[in-house]
């Protein structure tokens, strides 16, 4: 047998080089910006901030102070509460809607426009809508008064500006349900309806079809949208800031308050808060992902 053709090897090498060359810009941008930001965040939270004349790296006291205070854990609880509850609600509603959308119904085209609207507009708009609808002086409160249910704004159940209130959740759900719907709907379109029909012919009831046939197939879509919206919810700032109930604030708001304090050392404390958020989010999401991977392996997907 002769030697391998040199052109083939050279070409192969050239192609690999081209390949990495094409990947470089993205890789560079993300590692420098995103990776760099992560490293910086961690370093700052450990006391590295020469620009404030602070450099006690590595210094765990910021984390110590943070994790040592009860209010941090309260904030964490609140953050997780908002994130989890709204993620779950958005998911359930999104799945429900997506399932409804693959079926035919009147005005479907119009509806297909409509449901994406919240996706297109910023969260702040959602917050504004929550303020005007759900506030104690808001539209629903006024309607209740009009129908004689309440006689004073304070009798209206407090939705905004309170802990564990539904205002923040309502905004998240309003904005994220379309995202979940879009994702799941797209997956459903790819999956097609055949397996569902096959199951119904095999005698499965609607429930059985949903849980045993449809659900496992749209799971990848569910998982990826969960990851995205949960991560967002846990790090979101504007809604809990505007609609939240004050102390204890959610962690991003706590971080924000630290950053806006005149005291520079508190910025490092804020950085520790931010890193904690990232850390907690990653732990939760990672275990979620690991759990899902295990499930996937169990059902033989890889």
């Amino acid at each position: 047998m002769t030697q391998p053709n040199t052109t083939e090897l050279a070409r192969h090498r050239r192609e690999r080089m081209m390949m990495w060359l094409q990947l470089t810009p993205v890789l560079l941008v993300l590692s420098v910006l995103f990776g760099g930001a992560l490293i910086l965040a961690v370093m700052q939270s450990l006391g590295f901030a020469p620009w404030f004349g602070v450099n006690t790296f590595p210094d765990f006291s910021y984390f110590g102070a943070l994790w040592g205070s009860w209010s941090f854990w309260q904030s964490l609880g609140l953050t997780l509460y908002y994130a989890i509850v709204s993620t779950v609600i958005a998911l359930v509603m999104g799945i429900f809607l997506a399932l409804a959308m693959v079926r035919m119904f009147p005005c479907k085209t119009l509806y297909k426009y409509l449901y994406k609207l919240p996706l297109m507009i910023p969260y702040t708009v959602g917050i504004a809508l929550a303020v005007i609808m759900l506030g104690n002086g808001g539209m629903i409160s006024r309607l209740s008064a009009f129908f004689g249910f309440i006689g004073d704004p304070s009798e209206f159940p407090q939705i905004l500006k309170t802990h564990y209130g539904w205002g923040v959740i309502a905004v998240y759900v309003w904005k994220q349900t379309p995202f979940v719907t879009l994702t799941i709907y797209a997956v459903l379109l790819g999956v097609g309806r055949e397996t569902e029909e096959a199951a119904s012919i095999l005698g499965a009831s609607k429930r059985q079809i949903f849980f045993q046939v449809t659900m496992p197939q749209i799971l990848p879509g569910i998982v990826s949208s969960t990851l995205i919206i949960f991560a967002f919810n846990i790090g979101a700032f504007e809604a809990p800031f505007i609609l939240g109930g004050g102390f204890p604030d959610t962690l991003p708001v706590v971080a924000w308050r630290y950053f806006n304090d005149a005291d520079y050392t508190l910025q490092l404390q804020g950085m520790a808060t931010v890193v904690s958020i990232a850390l907690i989010a990653s732990i939760i999401l990672y275990s979620y992902l690991a759990f899902y991977r295990r499930y996937e392996r169990r059902i033989g997907r890889n």
Partner: protein, 350 residues
């Protein structure tokens, strides 16, 4: 098992009529093929029988009972989808057991029937694989096993062989036929391949454009098509315009042929005659007797087992199909002979 009847069934999708009118009687235990070009409404018909679609008009009867109101889950039908629709997240075993599990069949019985059916479809060794790890033929068999295990009273298959390669198709055809004969389930399958329909079915329903064009046994369909369209669709290639006389003589451009009046129902007038290309004798010397046409070999196509000759006779081109034991050279002068009983005629106004 179950007798299936479609009575005046019509199906509209919005403004579009997929099925304009179909009446069909399928006997208990019969294997019927729905044959027709793409988009003619075969799948729609099956789906209506299964209960996945509701007919716009008309009724569907199982053993003389109207099942229009019976939901899919309770019709006791089985359906094998064209692309199998296997549950991708379940193993072969789980896929097959699904139908029993959702009905709450006792575990022991499920086990037993599973083993039995896996033996039948010869999938014992693949039972723990996932659909993605199977070949087309194996997936096909899983789909069939999954359906059969529920002991459906009507089995439907939508183009069950469309995605398989030639060799596998042959195998699967034999497998399905054998199985159907053994279990005697009323079976309806969809195909657009006339060979498949003829090989497998007891009777074939040809559907054109949402209408039942002919419903007959395979050989009848092949030998005595109702219309030129059906003949063409069934692969006939020798169709010629001819004038038929009352005495059963057909006069075409290449000469006059005697028809068998016991077979041919056409009595008189303008029409078409069909010469089945494999029923024509290609002779190198002029024979005696009637129904002989003179011509010249124009082309030859070798298919392995058979050879096709195109022969020009009086301006028309006649295709002759012969087993390839000998090869006649192109350009050779030949005589074609065809027996009256192998000629079929259709009136132009049919």
């Amino acid at each position: 098992m179950t007798k299936v009847q479609l009575k005046g069934v019509r199906k509209d999708f919005g403004a579009f009529t997929a099925i304009s009118q179909i009446d069909l009687d399928i006997n208990s235990g019969e294997l019927v093929a729905l044959l027709g070009p793409s988009g003619c409404g075969k799948t729609t018909t099956l789906r209506m029988i299964a209960g996945l679609e509701v007919p716009t008009y008309g009724h569907i009867l199982f053993d003389d009972d109207d099942v229009s109101e019976v939901p899919v889950q309770d019709r006791q039908v089985g359906m094998v989808f064209q692309r199998y629709a296997l549950f991708p997240h379940m193993t072969v075993e789980k896929n097959v057991m699904f139908g029993l599990k959702v009905r709450g069949t006792p575990k022991a019985e499920i086990e037993e029937r599973l083993e039995e059916i896996l033996d039948v479809v010869q999938l014992q060794q693949f039972r723990h694989r996932f659909p993605a790890q199977l070949s087309g033929g194996q997936m096909q068999r899983v789909a069939i096993a999954r359906t059969l295990i529920t002991k459906p009273s009507v089995l439907m298959m939508d183009e069950p062989l469309a995605n398989l390669d030639t060799k596998l198709r042959g195998e699967m055809r034999r497998f399905i036929r054998e199985l159907q004969q053994r279990l005697g389930i009323t079976t309806i399958f969809v195909t657009h391949d006339q060979i498949e329909a003829m090989e497998l079915a007891d009777r074939v329903a040809v559907i054109f454009d949402g209408k039942l064009a002919q419903y007959d046994a395979p050989d009848a369909l092949y030998q005595r098509p109702n219309s030129v369209e059906i003949a063409d669709f069934m692969g006939a290639n020798n169709i010629f315009a001819a004038q038929i006389s009352a005495s059963g003589l057909a006069t075409a451009a290449f000469g006059t042929l005697q028809l068998d009046r016991d077979i041919v129902t056409v009595r008189e007038g303008a029409g078409r005659i069909l010469l089945r290309s494999e029923a024509i004798d290609l002779l190198l010397e002029e024979p005696d007797g009637e129904n002989v046409i003179e011509g010249t070999v124009e082309g030859r196509e070798f298919f392995g087992a058979t050879v096709n000759y195109t022969v020009t006779c009086g301006g028309e081109i006649i295709t002759v199909n012969e087993q390839s034991r000998r090869l006649v050279e192109v350009g050779q002068k030949v005589w074609l002979r065809i027996e009256p009983r192998h000629i079929w005629a259709i009136r132009d106004d049919a």
